[in-house]
């Protein structure tokens, strides 16, 4: 592919006359990944023009609080903003809000023009796709009633907040991180919350069985009504046929009152533009270790990217798509290196957090492929950790209200050190003190 493009005569790449040839980098998607990419590029001395473009009408903001502090009203929206307007101006980054890109024309040399739904055109010399993911829709009867909501962006959160005051009963569909975070927040705000989970346990495969069970018990003991192996059949309005949701009818005929239905059943990567560009796509935009897409010039970063597993020592060829702040940041740094001609492979230990009621979960590493676990439980102090092992080596940990364990495992993994399983079982032992060099 690469050689073919290089052999093409220079005259084969023609720009429409109206488009300047050198117009810098266009970053499509102005969120965690796009912001970090722009910031890292400037830190590396990248001096070409940067356009950071997104379809949302807000200044780029942090999403994690949308299901937590922002929903509960304990932080101001201003606190979620990544960088001040002055910062962007000083760093010569042109921020474009409210423009949705529908089509991109790109030449073999990587340059081209992006077309927005408004008709505006954004020429570029180089392209970055940081378009993230969108909420997966639940397509059942009543799905279009008012009050059937999702939670992916600030407008979703504002719509939810606007309805919360008048609601008594909320049904959350999906027992994943976002569903459980929002359910905990809404419960704290005095709502009567029921969580429906289609699968046999909470949080799917992101955590092991023990952690899923711990969360189930912990939430139930805090009064959250969680129903596993349960799915909604339809959403209904009042008998008078109003426009707002009033109830959720389950597969077994049970009817739960609900003035709000919040659906959190996962996300779908926004690969539309990549597909239109003819880039390789497979559960995300397929990128190499340098965040480069299959054309060798476009970078794709964050939630939208399907990349080689960055964990050192993982199976060659193993691919993964991660949805986390940590990944968006670290992956963007790798892309910034690529765009400045420095090749740094993406290697690192992913980490993640989720706050649900008074349960602070921190996850270090990826647990997939584990063959043994060690449980550390301190009932009195409300601490709980699961350490995951593969062939005697620690690969990950889920830690609830146990930051010392989290930090010890995160640091050990980052340095390629081990925490022997037999010594780790006593919760009174500090993991940091038993970490070994190999």
């Amino acid at each position: 592919m690469g050689t073919q493009a290089a052999e093409q005569p220079a005259s084969a790449t023609t720009h429409p006359a109206s488009v300047p040839a050198h117009t810098g980098l266009l970053i499509i998607g102005a969120s965690q990944s796009g912001v970090q990419l722009a910031v890292s590029l400037r830190a590396l001395g990248f001096d070409e023009h940067i356009t950071l473009l997104g379809d949302e009408d807000h200044r780029p903001y942090q999403r994690p609080a949308l299901s937590k502090e922002f929903l509960q009203g304990t932080v101001e929206s201003e606190s979620l903003i990544f960088r001040s307007n002055d910062y962007w101006a000083e760093h010569n980054v042109e921020l474009v809000k409210g423009e949705y890109i529908v089509r991109i024309d790109k030449d073999a040399d990587g340059s081209g023009v992006a077309h927005a739904s408004s008709g505006r055109e954004f020429p570029f010399k180089r392209l970055a796709l940081t378009v993230g993911a969108r909420a997966r829709k639940l397509d059942i009867d009543g799905g279009d009633l008012d009050g059937v909501l999702y939670l992916r962006n600030a407008d979703d959160a504002l719509a939810l907040k606007a309805r919360v005051g008048d609601a008594t009963d909320v049904v959350v569909i999906g027992g994943g991180f976002i569903g459980l975070e929002a359910a905990s927040s809404l419960q704290k705000m005095g709502k009567n919350v029921t969580v429906l989970e289609f699968g046999p346990r909470l949080v799917g495969r992101a955590v092991g069985e023990e952690t899923a069970e711990y969360f189930l018990q912990a939430h139930r003991s805090r009064g959250l009504d969680i129903r596993l192996n349960t799915s909604a059949a339809r959403f209904t309005s009042n008998a008078d046929g109003g426009a707002s949701v009033a109830a959720v009818e389950l597969q077994d005929g049970t009817v739960l009152p609900a003035q709000i239905v919040l659906i959190g059943i996962g996300v779908i990567p926004n690969t539309q533009l990549a597909e239109q560009l003819g880039l390789a796509v497979d559960n995300g935009v397929v990128v190499d270790r340098f965040a480069l897409a299959s054309d060798g010039s476009t970078v794709a970063v964050g939630d939208v990217a399907n990349m080689p597993n960055p964990v050192p020592g993982s199976e060659p060829g193993e691919r993964i798509r991660l949805e986390s702040v940590n990944n968006a940041i670290e992956h963007a740094k790798v892309a910034a290196y690529s765009l400045t001609g420095r090749h740094e492979e993406y290697a690192g230990i992913p980490w993640f957090w989720s706050n649900q009621a008074d349960l602070k979960l921190q996850i270090a590493g990826l647990c997939n492929g584990f063959d043994a676990t060690v449980l550390r439980r301190d009932e009195e102090r409300g601490k709980f950790s699961v350490l995951y092992y593969r062939q005697g080596r620690i690969i990950a940990a889920d830690c609830v209200n146990a930051p010392l364990d989290f930090m010890a495992v995160k640091n050990a993994l980052a340095k390629g050190r081990n925490i022997p399983a037999d010594a780790a079982a006593d919760p009174a032992t500090q993991l940091k003190t038993i970490t070994t060099d190999s």
Partner: protein, 106 residues
Amino acid sequence: MPTVHFTDAEGAVRDVEGNVGDSVMETAVRNGVPGIVAECGGSLSCATCHVFVREDCVSQLPPMEDMEDEMLYGTAVDREDNSRLSCQLRLADGTELFVTTPETQV
């Protein structure tokens, strides 16, 4: 206006004006002070907002909660007696704070 004076590990100083109620971390990040990473955006989950507070400013600060204390044991540069996580430090009217950022946060 509250002011935070950030000194980096090499000794370069940046004076940043903040807003009452904002944290030291937010004040740094929004203005692009490089020594603060703050991956978790202030939710006390990442310990990449570590600062050393000048001794004579320590007494102005709110006491440390257990969670912050435990997180500080995992910072990239080892904690000292004057270590704090800057997302837990809120600016009040008239606050004038001198902090040093560690050589690395990750």
